[in-house]
């Protein structure tokens, strides 16, 4: 127990002193996660809305695929993207492997199915009277769908936040595609894995606390928006 308490105290000291290693890892994590989330939202939200609002022959199959993609292990995504970005891969010439961009690409693949599924769930859970109400008040199709999106905006926002949560907390993609390069591609999660294996438990704990704080802040932000 003493070990945990002393590690916790050391972790707080590291955070308080703004240790450059901690700041670097936090900055990289937030940057790549935010980038991946933006692209995942740009792809995932329209897909979720489109699948939710339209009827087509393979809809069930598409929904099943989207659900399955949510459960793909991060290392499998890392492996797949690694195959494309490695020197021998089709995109090897771009030299993206072991760069923050590579982590963003992997992050998009991880987060997009989550954003799409949560958006789809929001559409399905929406009050069925929204679109007919808008239509009978004279809205065109686009305004009616816009009204629906407006009414389920917190569900969509929750989808984006869930996507961010997936990216910021994963380790497989960041490790395989980023390479855990100090000051460049080292994220909070890869740093935690590395430093803990080196016996630097307090450092890992410091990053773990920051990670939890990020999750807490994001959710507080969501709550604040919902209240408004």
């Amino acid at each position: 127990m003493d070990f945990l308490i002393s590690s916790f105290a050391a972790a707080l000291r590291l955070i308080g002193s703004l240790s450059p290693d901690v700041v670097d890892a936090v900055g990289t994590s937030l940057a790549v996660s935010a980038g991946a989330t933006v692209f995942a939202a740009l792809f995932g939200i329209p897909v979720g809305l489109l699948v939710g609002l339209s009827d087509f022959p393979l809809k069930r199959f598409v929904v099943t695929v989207l659900n399955t993609l949510m459960a793909v292990p991060t290392v499998v995504v890392g492996l797949l993207v690694y195959g494309f970005l490695s020197r021998q891969g089709p995109l090897g010439a771009l030299g993206l492997l072991f760069t923050p961009t590579a982590i963003v690409i992997g992050g998009v693949l991880l987060a997009a199915p989550i954003v799409a599924n949560y958006s789809l769930a929001s559409v399905r859970g929406a009050d069925p009277r929204i679109v007919p109400t808008a239509l009978t008040l004279g809205a065109g199709r686009f305004l009616a769908v816009g009204t629906l999106i407006g009414e389920i905006r917190f569900g969509i926002l929750a989808a984006v936040i869930a996507g961010f949560g997936r990216v910021v907390s994963e380790v497989g993609v960041a490790m395989m595609l980023g390479g855990n390069i100090r000051g460049y591609t080292r994220t909070m999660t890869t740093a935690i894995a590395l430093e803990t294996s080196k016996g630097e438990f307090a450092f890992g704990m410091a990053l773990g606390i920051v990670l939890m704080m990020v999750a807490l802040l994001v959710n507080l932000f969501l709550n604040l928006l919902q209240k408004r």
Binding site: D127, I130, T136, G140
Partner: protein, 221 residues
């Protein structure tokens, strides 16, 4: 105004509506009665151009409604449907009542007096800045009524609009509804109140098992 000819609406093998011929005249008030499942709401949805019939034809002012190629938005802007449990959008009462006006591109300056007037009619002056979701059931119903009245539609379709409203307000809204035909608005109103058709002094359409049982001429006008 409307003419429904050999019209059927089916859900799977279930025939919800089977109307051989029904004419709805301009500037008149109709009460639509019938047992649960008789097809009243289905008929209202079709008249509101929200749901196409499975077979048959509908004419609106003599023009055959083309559900596949016509601009339904154009028709829908002439007709407003008010549900028994209406959906109020998030935001204020003003946002709700002004929604249809905004959709029609009416400028903000012109929207304000229209919204105020509609809220006055339904007995909710001073409610414009209230949050719509915080209203009681009766108030929400009246806001939805104001939202419909603000549009001054050619046809107002009402699905038991007074069901959740207190007696006094229901009485005043009934007076408002009864006055609409004189202003050129056709009203079709679903009711389970046996005295309402007579009070509203309109024509009666009775649906039984999806069929028009006995359309009757006006009581007196």
């Amino acid at each position: 105004m409307y003419r429904l000819h050999s019209m059927r609406k089916c859900y799977g093998s279930n025939v919800a509506l089977d109307i051989e011929d029904l004419t709805i005249g301009e500037g008149r008030l109709y009460t639509l009665t019938g047992a649960n499942g008789a097809g009243k709401s289905t008929l209202l949805n079709i008249l509101a151009f929200l749901s196409p019939p499975t077979w048959g034809e509908i004419f609106y002012f003599g023009k055959r409604v083309d559900w596949n190629h016509g601009s339904m938005e154009e028709y829908r802007r002439k007709v407003t449907l008010l549900h028994q449990s209406p959906y109020l959008l998030g935001g204020t009462v003003y946002d709700n009542v002004a929604f249809g006006l905004k959709a029609r591109g009416i400028p903000e300056k012109e929207r304000q007096p229209i919204v105020e007037k509609a809220l006055d009619i339904v007995g909710l002056p001073g409610f414009r800045d209230r949050k719509a979701r915080e209203l009681s059931g009766g108030e929400a119903q009246r806001v939805a009524m104001a939202r419909a009245l603000a549009l001054e539609p050619e046809v107002l379709l009402l699905d038991e609009p007074l069901a959740n409203i207190d007696r006094e307000t229901a009485g005043s809204l009934e007076t408002v509804i009864a006055s609409l035909p004189a202003r050129g608005t056709t009203v079709v109103l679903i009711t389970h109140d046996p005295d309402q058709p007579e009070r509203l002094n309109g024509e009666s359409i009775v649906l039984t098992g999806g069929k028009v049982a006995h359309p009757r001429p006006p009581v007196r006008r």
